[in-house]
Symmetry: C2
Subunit: 288 residues, 2 copies
């Protein structure tokens, strides 16, 4: 998608904002970067058009007003700030009880609240996947190693678990070994979940980093607003999966961002893990 | 329930076997204790009739043959031994591929496999709750503090999450704050899950042990075999919940063991947490 005016990137932490901006530069799309202090990567902050505190809504809105962007994207992680800090900042703008309700409902809802706020101010909010479709995992993406029959069975269990949980505000990834659920991602994120699995196995086996098998399945939930919280993986996810003794990764097609795709695949090949992209039953239904 | 002959207690770690044996002594029920080396509490091992290795199936079966118990109970945690160790031990008795399948399916299935094995040898396997109904959380159990409206809402979300996951071999507890799922218990157990929630909050808030609210909901799953893996809590669970900044605990009625009930309630009262027992929709259905 290309836009006549500039697009505004509200950038949190991680590699996604960095790669998204690189993509926009490559494709010649005019853009402005608003970096969140304490979150955005330093390489991004150096070239940011504005650097603001996450909760300084007044400065954020002011910057957007100055830029008059054709579209706005919220991208990268921002650790959940304290409840009262959030409450104070949002309350400048909206009914206190309503804000409290939104925050209580969870991460997704907080981010949806932010999207709503931007839309009320007349901004068009889009997802990173709309600006840079190249970053989205295509069904054809895969490494040299292919999942075994056991791996496919575990992948199916993983998709069932994510499907059963899609009504709840909880993670987008799960680790399955055999038919056993070793972990479900909470607010800690995929990397920490994988480290947890590694620690559990260390206890059981008295051994570290032994390849015990199992897969991590990561995909957008049923009904998830991809504009605010699209699952993303990169080379580090593969490394953590290897350390947890897993045999590979399965990613939801069309709804997962793969950062540094070449390097991610190379890492999987080098560490002996499969990386495969699977169609999601619930995304199918949506498309039909 | 009382038995004419002795009942055999196969004892793993934790306070549950200790309290169960104390209960049997109090009620005058004849019993024999088989303690698993490296798992059973030392106070239990001192009075055990036999102490054996977890995987020494031959000695276990021999002891049971000598005692001719009226019933057998498996009680207390046994950390999952390594796959190959388990495979080797079970394979002495049964088809190798079948054993492998059972192990791949998860903890519940491994324990059910052990129950099956005992039943095939003619033993009657019962649950700790059948031997000591006093240990089971009754609907009337509660502390001095009562859940707020918000807490009740979180409890309902927690029951929904456990309900949605009951088809899978995964934990029996979840932590909910508002409508947000902070954690789902995996093989690590309730205490470690609570510590994880505490750590997450530390990151978000830069503060430790601040009371932020949220509840832990713990209950048997739909269709769970209570003989092999009944959820249990005690004073330590309450302490960990307080450290994680939660406001209280909700336990499934009739399907959760509460160890040291008086001390557990006292701890909750002292730390300012509610402790309440809730009816489970799926247990209702079973009873009807």
């Amino acid at each position: 998608m290309t836009f006549d005016g500039p697009v505004a990137i509200l950038a949190g932490s991680g590699q996604l904002p960095v790669q998204l901006v690189a993509h926009l530069k490559r494709t010649g799309q005019d853009h402005r970067v608003l970096a969140f202090r304490g979150f955005a990567a330093s390489e991004l902050r150096q070239h940011a058009d504005a650097t603001v505190d996450l909760l300084d809504l007044k400065s954020i809105m002011q910057a957007l007003e100055n830029w008059s962007p054709a579209a706005v994207t919220l991208v990268g992680a921002v650790s959940r700030p304290g409840f009262s800090a959030l409450l104070g900042a949002y309350s400048l703008l909206r009914n206190r009880q309503e804000v409290k309700d939104v925050i209580a409902r969870g991460d997704d809802q907080v981010l949806r609240g932010a999207v709503m706020l931007l839309e009320e101010r007349g901004h068009r909010v889009i997802g990173a996947h709309e600006l840079a479709p190249d970053l989205v995992a295509p069904l054809t993406l895969r490494g040299r190693i292919y999942p075994s029959e056991d791996d496919w069975q575990a992948i199916r269990v993983g998709l069932d678990v994510l499907g059963a949980l899609s009504a709840f505000d909880i993670g987008q990834a799960t680790v399955i070994a055999g038919q056993r659920v070793l972990a479900i991602e909470g607010p800690e994120g995929t990397d920490r979940m994988l480290r947890r699995v590694g620690r559990q196995r260390q206890t059981w086996l008295g051994l570290r980093r032994r390849r015990e098998g199992g897969v991590v399945v990561k995909a957008a939930k049923h009904g998830q607003d991809l504009r605010v919280d699209m699952p993303a993986v990169g080379p580090r996810t593969v490394t953590e999966a290897a350390r947890a003794g897993l045999s590979g990764l399965a990613l939801g097609a069309g709804s997962t961002l793969v950062l540094e795709q070449d390097e991610t695949i190379r890492t999987a090949d080098r560490l002996g893990l499969f990386l495969t992209v699977v169609d999601l039953p619930w995304m199918e239904a949506k498309r039909a």
